[in-house]
Symmetry: C2
Subunit: 168 residues, 2 copies
Protein backbone atom coordinates (compact mmCIF):
# COMPACT_ATOMS: atom_id res chain seq x y z
CA UNK A 1 0.00 0.00 0.00
CA UNK A 2 2.89 2.41 0.73
CA UNK A 3 4.20 1.79 -2.80
CA UNK A 4 0.78 2.61 -4.29
CA UNK A 5 0.68 5.77 -2.18
CA UNK A 6 4.08 6.83 -3.55
CA UNK A 7 2.93 6.28 -7.15
CA UNK A 8 -0.26 8.21 -6.47
CA UNK A 9 1.65 11.16 -4.98
CA UNK A 10 3.87 11.26 -8.06
CA UNK A 11 1.06 11.58 -10.61
CA UNK A 12 0.51 15.09 -11.99
CA UNK A 13 -3.01 15.08 -10.54
CA UNK A 14 -2.17 14.34 -6.92
CA UNK A 15 1.18 15.99 -6.36
CA UNK A 16 1.10 18.88 -3.86
CA UNK A 17 -1.17 16.79 -1.62
CA UNK A 18 -0.16 16.23 1.99
CA UNK A 19 0.39 12.64 3.10
CA UNK A 20 -2.97 12.64 4.83
CA UNK A 21 -4.76 13.95 1.72
CA UNK A 22 -3.05 11.37 -0.52
CA UNK A 23 -4.18 8.65 1.92
CA UNK A 24 -7.76 9.91 1.65
CA UNK A 25 -7.54 9.61 -2.15
CA UNK A 26 -6.14 6.10 -1.78
CA UNK A 27 -9.02 5.16 0.54
CA UNK A 28 -11.70 6.13 -2.02
CA UNK A 29 -9.92 4.24 -4.83
CA UNK A 30 -10.01 0.52 -5.57
CA UNK A 31 -7.58 -1.88 -7.22
CA UNK A 32 -8.63 -3.24 -10.60
CA UNK A 33 -6.67 -5.57 -12.91
CA UNK A 34 -6.73 -6.15 -16.67
CA UNK A 35 -5.10 -8.85 -18.80
CA UNK A 36 -2.89 -8.10 -21.81
CA UNK A 37 -4.96 -6.91 -24.82
CA UNK A 38 -8.06 -6.21 -22.74
CA UNK A 39 -9.87 -2.94 -23.44
CA UNK A 40 -9.95 -0.77 -20.32
CA UNK A 41 -11.86 2.18 -21.75
CA UNK A 42 -13.68 2.61 -25.04
CA UNK A 43 -13.88 5.75 -27.16
CA UNK A 44 -17.42 7.13 -27.37
CA UNK A 45 -18.74 5.34 -24.27
CA UNK A 46 -19.55 7.45 -21.26
CA UNK A 47 -17.62 7.05 -18.05
CA UNK A 48 -17.31 8.63 -14.63
CA UNK A 49 -14.05 7.20 -13.36
CA UNK A 50 -10.34 7.71 -13.80
CA UNK A 51 -7.39 5.33 -13.58
CA UNK A 52 -3.84 5.44 -12.27
CA UNK A 53 -1.41 2.84 -13.61
CA UNK A 54 0.22 1.00 -10.72
CA UNK A 55 1.84 -1.80 -12.75
CA UNK A 56 2.08 -2.46 -16.49
CA UNK A 57 1.53 -0.37 -19.59
CA UNK A 58 -1.34 0.63 -21.88
CA UNK A 59 -1.81 2.23 -25.30
CA UNK A 60 -4.13 5.13 -26.04
CA UNK A 61 -5.85 4.88 -29.44
CA UNK A 62 -8.15 7.33 -31.18
CA UNK A 63 -10.38 7.07 -34.20
CA UNK A 64 -8.93 9.67 -36.54
CA UNK A 65 -11.78 9.98 -39.03
CA UNK A 66 -15.54 9.50 -39.00
CA UNK A 67 -16.59 5.98 -40.00
CA UNK A 68 -19.33 7.02 -42.41
CA UNK A 69 -16.88 8.87 -44.61
CA UNK A 70 -14.56 5.96 -45.06
CA UNK A 71 -16.57 4.26 -47.81
CA UNK A 72 -17.01 0.95 -46.06
CA UNK A 73 -13.57 0.94 -44.54
CA UNK A 74 -13.28 1.11 -40.77
CA UNK A 75 -12.25 4.50 -39.40
CA UNK A 76 -8.50 4.96 -39.26
CA UNK A 77 -7.20 4.39 -35.76
CA UNK A 78 -4.10 6.05 -34.52
CA UNK A 79 -2.05 5.05 -31.50
CA UNK A 80 -1.65 8.38 -29.74
CA UNK A 81 0.68 7.36 -26.97
CA UNK A 82 1.81 4.61 -24.63
CA UNK A 83 1.55 5.04 -20.91
CA UNK A 84 3.15 3.01 -18.14
CA UNK A 85 3.55 3.00 -14.39
CA UNK A 86 7.08 4.35 -14.88
CA UNK A 87 5.71 7.72 -16.11
CA UNK A 88 3.29 7.94 -13.15
CA UNK A 89 0.59 7.80 -15.76
CA UNK A 90 -3.11 8.30 -15.36
CA UNK A 91 -5.99 8.50 -17.83
CA UNK A 92 -9.71 9.23 -17.97
CA UNK A 93 -9.17 12.18 -15.61
CA UNK A 94 -12.09 14.18 -17.01
CA UNK A 95 -14.33 11.39 -15.65
CA UNK A 96 -13.44 12.72 -12.19
CA UNK A 97 -15.16 15.98 -13.08
CA UNK A 98 -18.15 14.94 -15.16
CA UNK A 99 -19.72 11.90 -16.71
CA UNK A 100 -18.78 12.29 -20.34
CA UNK A 101 -17.94 10.25 -23.39
CA UNK A 102 -14.38 8.96 -23.55
CA UNK A 103 -12.30 10.61 -26.27
CA UNK A 104 -9.97 7.64 -26.72
CA UNK A 105 -9.76 3.88 -26.33
CA UNK A 106 -7.25 2.53 -23.80
CA UNK A 107 -5.98 -1.04 -24.19
CA UNK A 108 -3.68 -3.06 -21.90
CA UNK A 109 -0.30 -3.79 -23.53
CA UNK A 110 0.72 -6.02 -20.59
CA UNK A 111 -1.13 -7.42 -17.61
CA UNK A 112 -2.03 -4.27 -15.68
CA UNK A 113 -2.83 -3.26 -12.14
CA UNK A 114 -4.71 0.03 -11.94
CA UNK A 115 -6.27 2.12 -9.25
CA UNK A 116 -9.77 3.32 -10.11
CA UNK A 117 -11.34 6.48 -8.64
CA UNK A 118 -15.05 7.18 -9.16
CA UNK A 119 -16.36 10.71 -9.62
CA UNK A 120 -19.01 10.44 -6.88
CA UNK A 121 -16.50 9.36 -4.24
CA UNK A 122 -14.03 12.04 -5.27
CA UNK A 123 -16.59 14.88 -5.24
CA UNK A 124 -17.82 13.81 -1.79
CA UNK A 125 -14.22 13.82 -0.53
CA UNK A 126 -13.53 17.23 -2.11
CA UNK A 127 -16.65 18.66 -0.41
CA UNK A 128 -15.36 17.43 2.96
CA UNK A 129 -11.82 18.73 2.34
CA UNK A 130 -11.90 21.82 0.15
CA UNK A 131 -8.14 22.25 0.23
CA UNK A 132 -7.73 18.78 -1.26
CA UNK A 133 -10.46 19.60 -3.81
CA UNK A 134 -8.79 22.87 -4.73
CA UNK A 135 -5.34 21.25 -5.21
CA UNK A 136 -6.66 18.38 -7.34
CA UNK A 137 -8.92 20.60 -9.45
CA UNK A 138 -6.03 23.03 -10.06
CA UNK A 139 -3.90 20.13 -11.31
CA UNK A 140 -6.79 18.78 -13.39
CA UNK A 141 -7.40 22.21 -14.97
CA UNK A 142 -3.67 22.43 -15.88
CA UNK A 143 -3.78 18.97 -17.49
CA UNK A 144 -6.93 19.70 -19.50
CA UNK A 145 -5.70 23.14 -20.55
CA UNK A 146 -2.41 21.72 -21.83
CA UNK A 147 -4.37 19.13 -23.85
CA UNK A 148 -6.58 21.94 -25.21
CA UNK A 149 -3.49 23.90 -26.28
CA UNK A 150 -2.21 20.83 -28.15
CA UNK A 151 -5.60 20.25 -29.80
CA UNK A 152 -5.75 23.91 -30.90
CA UNK A 153 -2.30 23.55 -32.48
CA UNK A 154 -3.42 20.38 -34.28
CA UNK A 155 -6.47 22.21 -35.67
CA UNK A 156 -4.29 24.99 -37.11
CA UNK A 157 -1.92 22.42 -38.65
CA UNK A 158 -4.75 20.38 -40.20
CA UNK A 159 -6.50 23.51 -41.51
CA UNK A 160 -3.20 24.72 -43.00
CA UNK A 161 -2.57 21.42 -44.81
CA UNK A 162 -6.17 21.31 -46.02
CA UNK A 163 -5.97 24.87 -47.32
CA UNK A 164 -2.71 24.03 -49.20
CA UNK A 165 -4.20 20.87 -50.71
CA UNK A 166 -7.35 22.69 -51.84
CA UNK A 167 -5.28 25.44 -53.51
CA UNK A 168 -3.37 22.95 -55.67
Amino acid sequence: MEETLTILKNTPLFRDLTDLQARKILEISREITFSRNETIMEEGKTGDSMYIIIKGSVEVIRNLTLDENDAGEKGKNKVLTKLSSENHALFGEIGLLEESRRTATVRALTDCTLREIKKGAFLALAESDHELGYRVLTNLAHLVSSRLRKADDDIVKLATVLSMVLQE
Copy 2:
Protein backbone atom coordinates in the same frame (compact mmCIF):
# COMPACT_ATOMS: atom_id res chain seq x y z
CA MET B 1 -21.42 47.79 -7.79
CA GLU B 2 -24.43 45.58 -6.96
CA GLU B 3 -25.15 45.27 -10.68
CA THR B 4 -21.57 44.20 -11.36
CA LEU B 5 -21.86 41.65 -8.55
CA THR B 6 -25.01 40.22 -10.13
CA ILE B 7 -23.31 39.87 -13.53
CA LEU B 8 -20.31 38.24 -11.90
CA LYS B 9 -22.47 35.71 -10.05
CA ASN B 10 -24.18 34.81 -13.32
CA THR B 11 -21.03 33.94 -15.23
CA PRO B 12 -20.34 30.19 -15.58
CA LEU B 13 -17.07 30.62 -13.65
CA PHE B 14 -18.47 32.23 -10.50
CA ARG B 15 -21.90 30.72 -10.08
CA ASP B 16 -22.24 28.49 -6.96
CA LEU B 17 -20.34 31.14 -5.00
CA THR B 18 -21.88 32.56 -1.84
CA ASP B 19 -22.54 36.31 -1.76
CA LEU B 20 -19.48 36.81 0.42
CA GLN B 21 -17.27 34.80 -1.94
CA ALA B 22 -18.55 36.70 -4.99
CA ARG B 23 -17.77 39.96 -3.17
CA LYS B 24 -14.21 38.76 -2.54
CA ILE B 25 -13.82 38.11 -6.29
CA LEU B 26 -15.19 41.57 -7.03
CA GLU B 27 -12.69 43.10 -4.59
CA ILE B 28 -9.67 41.61 -6.36
CA SER B 29 -10.94 42.69 -9.80
CA ARG B 30 -10.66 46.12 -11.43
CA GLU B 31 -12.74 47.97 -13.98
CA ILE B 32 -11.17 48.47 -17.38
CA THR B 33 -12.68 50.13 -20.48
CA PHE B 34 -12.03 49.76 -24.20
CA SER B 35 -13.27 51.81 -27.16
CA ARG B 36 -14.99 50.30 -30.18
CA ASN B 37 -12.49 48.43 -32.45
CA GLU B 38 -9.78 48.34 -29.80
CA THR B 39 -7.94 45.04 -29.38
CA ILE B 40 -8.38 43.70 -25.86
CA MET B 41 -6.36 40.54 -26.18
CA GLU B 42 -4.04 39.34 -28.93
CA GLU B 43 -3.59 35.79 -30.15
CA GLY B 44 -0.07 34.46 -29.47
CA LYS B 45 0.78 36.98 -26.73
CA THR B 46 1.09 35.69 -23.19
CA GLY B 47 -1.30 36.86 -20.52
CA ASP B 48 -2.18 36.15 -16.91
CA SER B 49 -5.58 37.79 -16.58
CA MET B 50 -9.19 37.09 -17.46
CA TYR B 51 -12.10 39.41 -18.30
CA ILE B 52 -15.80 39.56 -17.58
CA ILE B 53 -17.95 41.70 -19.88
CA ILE B 54 -19.97 44.17 -17.81
CA LYS B 55 -21.17 46.33 -20.72
CA GLY B 56 -20.83 46.03 -24.49
CA SER B 57 -19.86 43.24 -26.85
CA VAL B 58 -16.68 41.78 -28.35
CA GLU B 59 -15.71 39.40 -31.14
CA VAL B 60 -13.35 36.44 -30.76
CA ILE B 61 -11.12 35.88 -33.81
CA ARG B 62 -8.64 33.13 -34.49
CA ASN B 63 -5.96 32.68 -37.10
CA LEU B 64 -7.08 29.57 -38.92
CA THR B 65 -3.88 28.70 -40.76
CA LEU B 66 -0.16 29.23 -40.27
CA ASP B 67 1.08 32.43 -41.95
CA GLU B 68 4.19 30.93 -43.55
CA ASN B 69 2.09 28.50 -45.57
CA ASP B 70 -0.10 31.13 -47.10
CA ALA B 71 2.30 32.11 -49.87
CA GLY B 72 2.50 35.79 -49.01
CA GLU B 73 -1.12 36.09 -48.06
CA LYS B 74 -1.95 36.87 -44.44
CA GLY B 75 -3.24 33.91 -42.42
CA LYS B 76 -6.97 33.43 -42.74
CA ASN B 77 -8.78 34.84 -39.74
CA LYS B 78 -12.07 33.48 -38.64
CA VAL B 79 -14.55 35.14 -36.32
CA LEU B 80 -15.30 32.34 -33.89
CA THR B 81 -18.01 33.97 -31.84
CA LYS B 82 -19.45 37.19 -30.48
CA LEU B 83 -19.77 37.70 -26.76
CA SER B 84 -21.74 40.30 -24.87
CA SER B 85 -22.73 41.25 -21.35
CA GLU B 86 -26.15 39.73 -22.03
CA ASN B 87 -24.69 36.21 -22.15
CA HIS B 88 -22.75 36.76 -18.89
CA ALA B 89 -19.66 36.31 -21.01
CA LEU B 90 -16.07 36.01 -19.93
CA PHE B 91 -12.86 35.26 -21.80
CA GLY B 92 -9.19 34.58 -21.15
CA GLU B 93 -10.15 32.32 -18.25
CA ILE B 94 -7.08 30.09 -18.63
CA GLY B 95 -5.04 33.17 -17.67
CA LEU B 96 -6.47 32.72 -14.18
CA LEU B 97 -4.71 29.37 -13.95
CA GLU B 98 -1.41 29.92 -15.73
CA GLU B 99 0.46 32.52 -17.71
CA SER B 100 0.07 31.22 -21.24
CA ARG B 101 -0.24 32.43 -24.78
CA ARG B 102 -3.71 33.56 -25.82
CA THR B 103 -5.37 31.26 -28.34
CA ALA B 104 -7.55 33.97 -29.87
CA THR B 105 -7.74 37.71 -30.47
CA VAL B 106 -10.58 39.59 -28.78
CA ARG B 107 -11.71 42.93 -30.24
CA ALA B 108 -14.29 45.41 -28.91
CA LEU B 109 -17.37 45.65 -31.18
CA THR B 110 -18.78 48.49 -29.08
CA ASP B 111 -17.38 50.63 -26.28
CA CYS B 112 -16.86 48.08 -23.52
CA THR B 113 -16.65 48.01 -19.75
CA LEU B 114 -14.89 44.92 -18.46
CA ARG B 115 -13.81 43.59 -15.11
CA GLU B 116 -10.24 42.26 -15.11
CA ILE B 117 -8.99 39.60 -12.67
CA LYS B 118 -5.26 38.86 -12.41
CA LYS B 119 -3.95 35.37 -11.77
CA GLY B 120 -1.77 36.35 -8.79
CA ALA B 121 -4.64 38.01 -6.92
CA PHE B 122 -6.98 35.10 -7.64
CA LEU B 123 -4.50 32.43 -6.51
CA ALA B 124 -3.82 34.33 -3.28
CA LEU B 125 -7.56 34.57 -2.63
CA ALA B 126 -8.07 30.85 -3.40
CA GLU B 127 -5.29 29.96 -0.94
CA SER B 128 -7.06 31.97 1.76
CA ASP B 129 -10.49 30.48 0.95
CA HIS B 130 -10.11 26.93 -0.36
CA GLU B 131 -13.86 26.46 -0.76
CA LEU B 132 -13.96 29.45 -3.13
CA GLY B 133 -10.88 28.07 -4.92
CA TYR B 134 -12.46 24.64 -5.24
CA ARG B 135 -15.74 26.02 -6.66
CA VAL B 136 -14.06 28.31 -9.19
CA LEU B 137 -11.54 25.67 -10.30
CA THR B 138 -14.34 23.12 -10.74
CA ASN B 139 -16.19 25.57 -13.00
CA LEU B 140 -12.99 26.41 -14.86
CA ALA B 141 -12.20 22.72 -15.42
CA HIS B 142 -15.74 22.19 -16.83
CA LEU B 143 -15.31 25.16 -19.20
CA VAL B 144 -11.91 24.01 -20.45
CA SER B 145 -13.03 20.40 -20.79
CA SER B 146 -16.03 21.40 -22.89
CA ARG B 147 -13.74 23.43 -25.14
CA LEU B 148 -11.40 20.44 -25.39
CA ARG B 149 -14.32 18.22 -26.43
CA LYS B 150 -15.23 20.69 -29.17
CA ALA B 151 -11.61 20.92 -30.35
CA ASP B 152 -11.37 17.11 -30.48
CA ASP B 153 -14.51 16.99 -32.63
CA ASP B 154 -13.06 19.64 -34.95
CA ILE B 155 -9.87 17.59 -35.35
CA VAL B 156 -11.86 14.51 -36.39
CA LYS B 157 -13.90 16.56 -38.88
CA LEU B 158 -10.82 18.22 -40.41
CA ALA B 159 -8.95 14.90 -40.61
CA THR B 160 -11.99 13.31 -42.26
CA VAL B 161 -12.25 16.03 -44.91
CA LEU B 162 -8.50 15.92 -45.51
CA SER B 163 -8.56 12.16 -45.90
CA MET B 164 -11.46 12.42 -48.41
CA VAL B 165 -9.68 15.14 -50.43
CA LEU B 166 -6.43 13.16 -50.54
CA GLN B 167 -8.25 10.04 -51.79
CA GLU B 168 -9.72 11.87 -54.77
